[in-house]
Amino acid sequence: MLLPQLTSKAFEEKIYDNGEACLVIFSRKDCHVCKEVVPTVEELQPNYEGKFGFYYVDVEEDKPLYQSFSLKGVPQILFFKEGEYYGKLSGHVEEEQIEEKIEEIL
């Protein structure tokens, strides 16, 4: 995993305290759709270095986090800016859809 992993505590800091514009991908190790989407996200990260944060949450390790967003499945990419939730992309998404969403927020 190339993306920095967030625990509940780090999530609070980055998203709510610092208000960083970023995305967080919720995934799990044995999910085959995640195995397709996570690398896509990883490849996008360098294009937005310093402008947009990329993080990931392992739902098996951080149950309270996905429960707090009442997520119903993985992978899900949640978008945030200034501590506010800016929507999500669910399931098998293409690179272009993620880029579009990032541009929208920036």
């Binding site: 085959h32 397709e36 996905y66 009442s70 119903k72 499945g73 993985v74 999500k88 399931g91």
Partner: protein, 404 residues
């Protein structure tokens, strides 16, 4: 050239990986391009109990063994998605999503399948918000909740039983009359004994309803035509698979109305040098063991095809002299006698001509390429180009005139 191969395999499921094992072992320079995780649909299977030699193995474990096996024979792997093809030349071209181009003498299509969507209202909109397609991935999110499963095949019933480990109640929506499931008998018996599982017969789903998350589904009884709502927090769709062959539209590859590719016993498609295997082809049994068999067959057929192609290149295209390509068949006496005459003639004109004999029984690709249907047939080549076809008579003088 770094992007040129003998064999390109599109897809990394059991069929593609088996082809890579055989291709690598035959010393073909082999590239396997795979868009997702290695193992394809088999990788999403928790338990495989019918692959010979493995009494009980998980899909990812078995597929990881397949991959190691292919790597041990030197097959190369690339993670990318093939989005375009050009099969019109001897060197077939594939283009990937990352805008790379690769060329190969033969291509094996092993792209597998993907879940079929019902395309009903709410299915797309609530995907990831209660609508799901993978129990391993998502079952846990429905702890203590009510879940609906659509379908009654192996996958629907087996995944359904897995979901009951988490869900409070699971309702299976089945098209058929009471008691009839499409899945295997062992699973059906287990399912009927599962206390958390309920069945709604003769029915299908018309709509998934809910604001931000799934709240209920609308169920239609096919016998009475009446509809009713069922409250639930999750819907898993297991309504079959469709072949992932859409990227081949316009490639000239023949497909049936559902997107499956018809092939012969050698896994050959209608285009020479292009083979289709596993869930990409029209077939009876779709299992890991039959996919592996397809991959092996296609790779061996591809190896023979490449051998012929190379032989043609070396003996005919690169020849300094003109080439007399003589087609014969050991069971056709006339064609044998005729090829003997041609050999005598070639001796007389050995400064200008060389002779290459093609047995129609084993080298059918060349015969097909030049549409040779009658025996005997002789085609004259100059620098790899067909310049004329001989008028074949047993009269030597007549033949001589045609050679000068």
């Amino acid at each position: 050239m770094g992007n040129t191969y003998d064999l390109i395999i599109i897809g990394g499921g059991p069929a593609g990986l088996s082809a890579a094992i055989y291709g690598g072992r035959a010393k073909l320079k082999t590239l396997l391009i795979n868009k997702g995780t290695i193992g394809g649909m088999a990788d999403t299977t928790r338990e495989i109990v019918n692959y010979p030699g493995y009494i009980n193995v998980s899909g990812p474990e078995l597929m990881s063994d397949f991959k190691k096996h292919a790597e041990s024979f030197g097959a190369e792997f690339l993670k990318d998605e093939v989005v375009g093809t050009d099969f019109s030349q001897d060197m077939k071209k594939v283009t990937t999503k990352k805008k790379k181009e690769f060329f190969a003498k033969a291509v094996i299509l092993a792209g597998g399948c993907q879940p079929r969507l019902l395309n009903i209202p709410g299915e797309k909109e609530l995907r990831g918000s209660g609508v799901a397609y993978c129990a391993t991935c998502d079952a846990e999110f429905f702890e203590g909740e009510d879940v609906v499963v659509v379908g009654s095949g192996d996958q629907a019933i087996e995944e359904g039983m897995f979901i009951t480990k988490f869900a409070r109640k699971l309702t299976v929506i089945v098209l058929h009359d009471e008691g009839i499931l499409d899945c295997n008998k062992v699973s059906a018996e287990k399912a009927f004994q599962n206390e958390k599982m309920e069945f709604i017969w003769n029915s299908t789903i018309e709509e998934v309803l809910g604001e931000d998350n799934v709240e209920r589904v609308r169920i239609k009884n096919l016998k009475t035509g009446s509809s009713s709502n069922l409250d639930c927090q999750g819907v898993f769709f297991f309504v079959g698979m469709i072949p992932a062959t859409q990227f081949l539209k316009g490639s000239g590859i023949e497909m049936d109305s559902r997107g499956y590719i018809p092939v012969n016993d050698l896994m050959e498609t209608n285009l020479s040098g292009i083979f289709a295997v596993g869930d990409n082809r029209v077939k009876y049994l779709r299992q890991v063991v039959s996919a592996a068999g397809d991959g092996a067959t296609a790779a061996v057929a591809a190896e023979r095809y490449i051998e012929e192609l190379d032989a043609f290149q070396n003996n005919i295209a690169n020849s300094d002299k003109k080439v007399l390509l003589v087609f014969f068949n050991a069971t056709n006496t006339e064609s044998l006698e005729f090829s003997a005459i041609m050999e005598e003639l070639q001796q007389e004109y050995r400064e200008d001509y060389k002779i290459v004999k093609v047995d129609m029984a084993t080298k059918k690709n060349i015969a097909e390429k030049y549409e040779v249907k009658m025996l005997p047939t002789v085609i004259i080549f100059d620098k790899g180009e067909k310049i004329k076809e001989l008028e074949c008579s047993m009269d030597k003088a007549n033949l001589k005139i045609q050679l000068i």
